[in-house]
């Protein structure tokens, strides 16, 4: 873990990714408060105005400032990905530890259930969950998180299996540590690296999946300026005002690109064994 930062800094692509992700995080955190732009104010006379000097990115079909909407939307896009990752991680990790640490029937039960989830292509599983629970940005994010769960279970289980029989875990038991304490203090600490790698590597895909669900009308609902939904808003204006579709897509792709670069870099820096 300690060697992570120097390695990450030397990786120029990953550093660039980190900078871009940082910019988007800043945009999400302070953008709406700092800028004087209003994402919901409509100027009907300037509907679908092209990008120019007045508004850098032009206006959308309802006469709203595209720049203001893109800045405002950053927190929904990032927030959705964060919720998805948190759900996959917080449900998957304990089950993976349970399966790896105790083995036996609890292992069998957990693994059969993950096999069941893995029997569906993951985007379709997310659609199925949204079909049951109902659409919305946060349910879509939670659905994507549940589809990620099996990966965490598998990686954590594998890591725990390696660590479980190590002498320091047995030593912890010998001096009277309970299973729970041994798992938290000694096992969890040693499976952190693969968990962090998995969470970061998956972020780009999570953003794409949530944006995809929103594009289909199953995620964020209007007037939330989520980027995938904004691309969908531009579908009907491909002839006259393509910028409505192009601009949020550029932001979406830049963010995913940066997340992927950062994820790959972090994977190489934290766990060289995982790199391909």
């Amino acid at each position: 873990m300690r060697q992570m930062w120097p390695r990450l800094r030397r990786d120029r692509a990953a550093a660039a990714g980190l900078v871009v992700v940082g910019l988007v995080v800043v945009m999400a955190a302070v953008g709406p408060f700092v800028s004087s732009l209003n994402p919901s104010a409509q100027i009907l006379a300037q509907r679908a105005a092209p990008p120019g000097t007045a508004e850098w990115f032009g206006r959308d079909a309802l006469g709203r400032d595209m720049l203001a909407r893109v800045v405002d939307g950053a927190r929904f896009t990032l927030g959705g990905a964060a919720v998805a990752t948190a759900i996959g991680l917080c449900i998957g990790t304990p089950f993976g530890m349970l399966a790896g640490y105790y083995g036996g029937w609890s292992d069998g039960l957990v693994m059969r259930f993950t096999d069941l989830l893995l029997a569906f292509p993951y985007f379709l599983l997310a659609i199925l969950i949204v079909a049951i629970v109902g659409s919305g940005l946060w349910t879509a994010a939670a659905a994507v998180g549940i589809t990620k769960m099996p990966q965490y279970v598998r990686v954590v289980r594998g890591a725990v299996l390696q660590v479980r029989r190590q002498e320091y875990v047995e030593a912890a038991h010998a001096i009277g540590a309970s299973d729970l304490r041994a798992m938290r203090q000694h096992v969890l600490a040693n499976v952190m690296a693969p968990i962090i790698v998995l969470a970061t590597v998956g972020l780009g895909g999570d953003v794409l999946a949530i944006a995809g669900l929103s594009f289909l009308g199953l995620g964020a609902q209007p007037p939330v300026p989520e980027w995938g939904l904004m691309v969908s808003d531009g579908r009907n204006y491909l002839f006259d005002a393509p910028h409505i579709m192009v601009i949020p897509g550029v932001f979406l792709m830049t963010l995913v690109l940066a997340l992927n670069l950062l994820g790959d870099g972090l994977r190489d820096a934290l766990d060289p064994r995982l790199s391909r």
């Binding site: 069941l116 029997a119 569906f120 199925l128 531009g234 792709m253």
Partner: protein, 306 residues
């Protein structure tokens, strides 16, 4: 080998039963009474009771599930709540479109992806390598629905070479296939590159070179053959990604495929169609995974399933 394949085919049965049970139970807990959904808002209580009886909704859950599986085995998945047409017919009609789209996309992605990955590895650190890695990074990062819209606005609107949407003529297939092939192409190219790099560094390739074989022969006989094994798995996995990506692609290009059927059903809460479509995809997915494992054993004689 035959025994292994047979056992794997038999193992599909419990998997599909478990998948169908999960989908069946999950959709029964979804909000909305199917009878009310079928009859609409102004249904009379007597009418609802009658439909509930016809659908078997007044029987215990387990009995309903058994009846559902029994029907499914005979090819009867019930009727759509919306159109009242048999689900099997709707699935068959739309699935043909998706199969063509998915197969073409995976084929294009495999051919181009493996070539790009190979070139990239064999010319490591050249401009070809950097270009290839750029393509890979772009391919896994671009939102495919956005790529589809960009292709429409360039090649259907600005330069009207291809039609904007629809299905039936060869021209209408081109843009959707490019859209759907982008992600698997990148994934296959990435896997091919790292796999070839690994094989090129191996002892037997050095031996082949040192005994005087030409580069072309070494690559064809020693490198590709061995590098192909992990690539097969990735190609198989891409079928799953493509079946999922088809929902987005079909939505962008307004194609009458399974994805469009599923999306319409989700928006209309047509549970009969959702259940049928998800089961069909899970079944196809399971068969593909099986095919990948068998291909794996065939390509790599070291892998022998007892």
């Amino acid at each position: 080998m035959t025994a292994y394949v047979l056992r794997r085919i038999l193992a599909l049965i419990p998997l599909l039963l478990a998948v169908s049970a999960l989908v069946f139970v999950a959709l029964r807990f979804a909000p909305g009474d199917p009878a009310v959904l079928m009859l609409g808002q102004d249904a009379t209580p007597a009418g609802i009771a009658q439909v509930r009886h016809e659908l078997g909704l007044d029987r215990p859950l387990l009995a309903q599930y058994v009846a559902f599986v029994g029907g499914a085995v005979e090819g009867n998945l019930g009727r759509s709540f919306e159109t009242k047409r048999p689900v099997t017919g709707e699935l068959g009609r739309t699935f043909r479109v998706t199969v063509v789209l998915a197969t073409l996309s995976v084929a294009v992605a495999t051919i181009i992806g493996m070539s790009v990955g190979c070139l990239s590895a064999l010319r490591r650190y050249s401009w070809i390598d950097y270009l290839a890695r750029g393509i890979v990074l772009g391919g896994v990062s671009i939102p495919i629905f956005w790529l589809g819209l960009l292709l429409i606005s360039w090649f259907a609107i600005k330069f009207p070479i291809f039609p904007v949407s629809g299905w039936g003529t060869p021209q209408q297939v081109v843009l959707p296939v490019i859209t759907l092939a982008a992600f698997p192409l990148a994934a296959i190219a990435r896997m091919t590159r790292s796999s070839v790099l690994e094989v090129v560094a191996s002892d037997y390739v050095r031996t082949a070179h040192s005994k005087g074989l030409g580069t072309a022969r070494v690559v064809a006989r020693h490198v590709l053959r061995n590098a192909l094994v992990p690539v097969t798995t990735v190609i198989g996995l891409q079928f799953g990604a493509v079946l999922a990506g088809a929902v987005l692609t079909e939505s962008v290009f307004a194609l009458p495929g399974l994805g469009t059927l599923l999306l319409t059903a989700v928006l209309a809460r047509d549970y009969a169609i959702i259940r049928g479509a998800i089961l069909l995809v899970a079944g196809v997915f399971a068969v593909i995974n099986l095919a990948v494992d068998v291909a794996y054993a065939y390509l790599d004689p070291r892998i022998r399933y007892a």
